[in-house]
Structures are given as C-alpha cells and as structure tokens.
C-alpha cells in the first residue's frame, strides 16, 4: 500500500497463487511439455558430454583440435543461435534439442575432463606397478575419481538446461512454459508471467535436487567430515 504498486506491475503472491489454482491443468500441461523437452535435451547433452570428456581424455590430439570450436559454440548467445537453428531445421524438435545439447554438454564435459586428469598420482603409480592395463586404469581409477567433478557439472547442467528449454520454446514452439510466457507477456498478463516463473523455478529446483540426490547416492565413500551426515549407526 505504502508504495502504491499497481497489481499489473507486481501482483501479490496471493493473486498469483489463486491464478495458478484456476489455471492448474493448463499450467501443468505446459510444465509437463517443458519437463519432457528438458529431460530429452539434458539426457542427450550429458551423454555427449561424457563421451566428449572420455574422447578428449584418451586422445589428447582431439582435445587440442576441437576445444577452440567448442569454446566458440559456448560464446554464441542462445538468442542468436536459436533463430538460426529454426531457419536451418524448422520448427520441430530438432532445433530445440540441438540448442539444449549445446548448452548442456559443456559443463559436464569440461568438469569431467578435469576430474579424469586429477586422479591421485600415487594410485596411478600403484596400478602401473602391478601391471594394470590402460582400460583398467580408466575403469578402476580415472572414472571413479572423476565422479565428484562430473556431478558438479551435472548440477550446473540441471540449472542451465531448464533455462535453455524455456529459450528454445520461446523462440519456436506452440507449447511449453516458454511459449506460455511469450503469450502472457504479449498480453501484458503480469500474473500469468509470474505464474510461469514460479513453474520454471520449481522445475529448475526439481532438476537440481534430482542431480544432488543422485550425487549423494553414488558418492558414498567420502568421509563425513562436514556436518556429520551419513555417520554409521550399528
């Protein structure tokens, strides 16, 4: 009341909540569409990220040859790249997936690559001394040692991926939260836009939470020095 903020500038949380209640099924459909797109893109992006990390790690020449090109792809803004991809690949799933993969594979590939190279030297030396093969060194040392870095990358991807999916839908889609935002903002429906923002935040938090949960389930060997969580009880 004190600042005399108009409801069309900043609607109250209650207005947003009741709007979301009224439009629950529509919002849910849009969110579900975005969720599926984000999952597909992230899944593909993470898979390509892991493959790229392994390829770059195992064949050093490939890394030197390709990393400039990859860095360039990361520097082209998605809002510039998106329309181009639509010109080249039409309005289907393809341009959206490409955009998502470009955004999602990079944090995973680069974090995991760093992790693969940082395996403890004394463990590497031990495996060489007992005659372990290159494949055994990868499987028994480098891959497990890279997992903490991999999950750091995955958590970044989980956050960026949702935003990228929204941008992809914004640029060319007839469904999804990204499309919904375009519709509502063009109609100056501030409440609708805020409802969409709530949905996006919920999605991003859910993806991040899932990645963090997966990390805790997979990496169980670390000493519980911080916080005393995960202590054993007999």
């Amino acid at each position: 009341m004190a600042f005399d903020v108009k409801p069309y500038v900043l609607p109250s949380p209650w207005t947003i909540a009741s709007y979301m209640g009224e439009n629950a099924s529509r919002l849910w459909d849009q969110m579900w569409f975005t969720l599926r797109l984000a999952l597909k893109g992230m899944g593909l992006g993470v898979a390509i990220g892991i493959l790229a990390a392994l390829l770059f790690h195992l064949i050093p020449g490939v890394r030197a040859a390709l990393s400039p090109i990859i860095i360039i792809t990361q520097n082209i803004p998605t809002i510039a790249l998106g329309p181009l991809l639509i010109v080249w690949f039409g309005f289907g799933l393809m341009p959206k997936l490409i955009l998502l993969v470009l955004v999602c594979f990079f944090p995973v590939a680069w974090s995991m690559l760093a992790g693969l190279g940082q395996a403890a030297p004394h463990l590497r030396e031990y495996l060489s001394m007992i005659g372990a093969s290159r494949w055994e060194i990868l499987r028994r040392l480098e891959l497990p040692a890279s997992l903490p870095s991999f999950f750091t990358g995955l958590k970044l991807t989980a956050t960026y991926g949702v935003t990228a999916a929204i941008v992809a839908e914004w640029l060319g889609s007839s469904e999804g939260i990204g499309h919904y935002i375009v519709l509502k903002s063009k109609g100056y429906d501030t409440v609708g836009v805020f409802s969409a923002i709530v949905c996006i935040v919920a999605l991003a938090l859910a993806f991040y939470g899932a990645a963090a949960l997966l990390e805790r389930l997979v990496i169980r060997w670390r000493p519980s020095a911080s916080g005393g969580k995960g202590g054993r009880s007999e």
């Binding site: 004394h122 463990l123 030396e125 031990y126 495996l127 060489s128 001394m129 007992i130 005659g131 372990a132 055994e136 028994r140 040392l141 497990p144 997992l147 990496i219 169980r220 060997w221 670390r222 000493p223």
Partner: protein, 262 residues
C-alpha cells in the same frame, strides 16, 4: 641357466640415468642383485640413492639403459605385471571397500572375481580385520591401512613382492608393531621379498640378506648375510652381533655418503 633357476628376481648390470638441463644424471650404476625363492632381501641406502627408480625398472614402468631383469627365470626387462607391490602410502582406493580393494587387485593379477572375493574375506578374517572388510578405507588407522596394503600384495600370485619403504610414514610405536606383524605373517608364508628401507634396525630385524647401496649413482657397497635364525625373535636387536652389524652398515652408509671421511 639351471644354477640361477632358484632366483625369483635377478638383476644383472642394470644402469639408468636421467637427463636434466642437458646433463646426464646417472642414478643406477651397473647394479646386480638377486632374490632367491622364499628369501627376504633388503636394499638400504641414503635417500636419493635411486631405490624408487630401481623399483620402477623391476615393475617394468621404465626401461634400464643397460642390463637385464629376470623374474622367475624369464627375461622381463620392460615388461609389466610380474611383481606385486606395496608402496610407501597405503594407496587404497577410497571408493572401494577394504575387501574390494584387495579383490580388485587380485583380478588384475588374473584371479577369477568370485575366487578373489573369497580370498579377500578369508584373509581379512585371518589377520583380524574381518570387522572392517566392508568399510571404506578412510575409517582405518594408518597402521591398519598398511596391513590391508600388505595383504593385497601378499595375495597377488606374483613371483616377487616389492615393498617400497612401507612403514616410513608410521609413528615409531606403530612401526615396531607392524614390523613384528609382518615378520610373523611373512615367516608363515615365505614369499620372495625385495624390501626397501632407510632404517638399519628394520633391515636387520626382517631380512635374510641386505644390500647396502651408495649415494647416486647407486652401486652395491656390500652384501650382508644376516646371521639370525628363523623364526626370528622380535627382540633380536638385543644380540651383540646385531649391534656390530648395525655399526658396520652405519659406517658403510657414511662412506657412501661422500668424500668427507677422507
């Protein structure tokens, strides 16, 4: 050929040098040594005498400039996978349980997975670590980690065990305990061991034979046959002969250390 067949490990005229700043730095100078079947042989020398380099050559991780390495009667110069190894740091994999650390090393040495698991849990029980078999290594103390590391080396079906200063990082009390423990276990199993240490007492307590190395480039100054009988008492250091031998090694190391003693 048949005379040397009982030698599990035999080095003949092994030399190695590294080049740094365009200068050659010789590390090993025509070193010859052998470890017989079931024999505990120790290398002792001043720090920087190339003992770790020697192990890397025996492990096949590096190639000697000249000379040959034979394991179990076969020429193995530059070949990996013929030794088991216990490094200075326990080098257990933090993401594997204690038992899996042992069994995965055994599978590298060609043992079937189920047999490797059985061996690991049976032996962990036998050395009193059955309770921690399923724990991650970080819950173990330094001494316990080294026991697991030794067991891992012991169980690998390889001709020679190479132990590289395995107790150097332990405190004096734990170290004495570990020596007694290793002595007992080794005397039951009688594997062929090449052991590296800085401690003269440790060498005299554990070994059948000792090679005293000079400072780099390492040569063998003397080969000492340790006269104490097996099974060896832990308080063998009380023997007058022990003191005499210790004095002898100390003097050799002093001479090898440089020209200061004209």
């Amino acid at each position: 050929m048949s005379e040397t067949s009982s030698a599990k490990l035999e080095l003949t005229g092994v030399s190695k040098s590294y080049s740094r700043d365009r200068k050659r730095h010789p590390v090993l100078d025509r070193l010859s040594l052998r470890v017989g079947e079931g024999e505990f042989v120790t290398l002792i020398g001043p720090s920087g005498s190339g003992k770790s380099t020697l192990f890397r050559l025996i492990g096949g991780v590096e190639l000697p400039d000249e000379g040959s390495i034979r394991i179990d009667g076969k020429e193995t110069t530059g070949e990996r996978g013929h030794i088991s190894y216990m490094p200075q740091q326990a080098s257990l994999f933090p993401w594997l349980s204690v038992a899996a650390n042992i069994s995965s090393a055994l599978t590298t040495a060609g043992i079937r997975a189920d047999e490797a698991k059985r061996l690991a849990s049976e032996w962990l029980g036998r050395i009193g670590l059955g309770d921690v078999a399923r724990e991650y290594p970080h819950v173990l103390s330094g001494g316990m980690q080294q026991r697991v590391s030794f067991l891992r080396a012991l169980l690998m079906p390889r001709a020679v065990m190479c132990l590289d200063e395995p107790f150097a990082a332990l405190d004096a009390l734990t170290r004495a305990e570990m020596q007694a423990w290793l002595l007992r276990l080794w005397e039951e199993e009688r594997r062929s061991v090449l052991f590296v240490t800085h401690s003269i007492e440790e060498a005299l307590t554990l070994s059948d034979r000792i090679y005293v190395l000079s400072r780099a480039p390492a040569r063998i100054l003397k080969e000492i046959r340790v006269p104490f009988s097996r099974p060896r008492r832990e308080d063998v250091w009380k023997e007058p002969e022990f003191v005499g031998l210790k004095q002898e090694v100390l003097e050799l190391l002093g001479e090898g250390a440089g020209a200061s003693r004209g």
